[in-house]
């Protein structure tokens, strides 16, 4: 599992690569939290290269979404596989987190809002 991030025009794009399960969810949390700055206003988590996630990883995404909401930042995820989209839907995450087909769609949805 790895998290790589970059900033593009004031948007933080964080890409997660590999598997996130109960054995490495804490590392995922540390990596994701350390990539986000308290001044970030738009954060997009790109899940295209995420092959697997269980409830331990979903918990981390929910915590990050809550933190960003408290700091007044916008948060979206993009590029979910069919299986990851299904776990998002069963968990009701698609109703509280913006789910997009691509990075571009996530960013333009925020710019339009």
């Amino acid at each position: 599992m790895a998290v790589n991030s970059e900033r593009q025009n004031g948007t933080l794009i964080a890409r997660v690569d590999g598997r996130v399960d109960g054995s490495n969810a804490r590392e995922f949390q540390t990596a994701l939290e350390s990539s986000i700055d308290s001044g970030d206003r738009i954060v997009v988590l790109d899940l295209e290269q995420l092959s697997y996630i269980s409830s331990a990883g979903l918990r981390v995404i929910l915590m990050v979404a809550k933190t960003l909401q408290r700091q007044g930042a916008k948060f979206a995820v993009c590029s979910l596989s069919t299986s990851i989209r299904e776990v998002f839907e069963i968990s009701g995450f698609d109703r509280i987190i913006s789910v997009n087909a691509s990075q571009e769609e996530a960013i333009s949805a925020f710019k339009d809002s």
Partner: protein, 139 residues
Amino acid sequence: MSEKLCLKIGSEVAELAHITAAIESLAEREEWPPDLVFKVNLVLEELTLNTMTHGSHKGLGEIEIRVDSAAEALTIEIMDNGRPFDPLTDAPTPDVDGALGERSVGGLGIHLVREMMDEMRYRREEGRNCLTLVTRRTG
């Protein structure tokens, strides 16, 4: 296309890697589609981690996992000697409809299992939790 897997794991989180490796190998031989591999890994992780963290006591021994991969359905059995725990009735249903600020960050694992499997049966037998899960292979 029908193969049975039997696996015994210890009660440490590091054992997850053994489950994943055994499932990946079975899935390759049985030509499972990617969504089935994902689902089986998820269900086994959620249930075994739940036993390791909530059902554990000093005498918790091995967790036994059996997977029967048949053409029409896949049957999973999980057995452990942890505290009695029926995931059908003993796990609260998490709030999946509330606003972001109100959501609790726990309790999703068993909910995912209940939603993703087609059948789920629990029995307590000879001091062991015995859980049978079925997912039908359609389409």
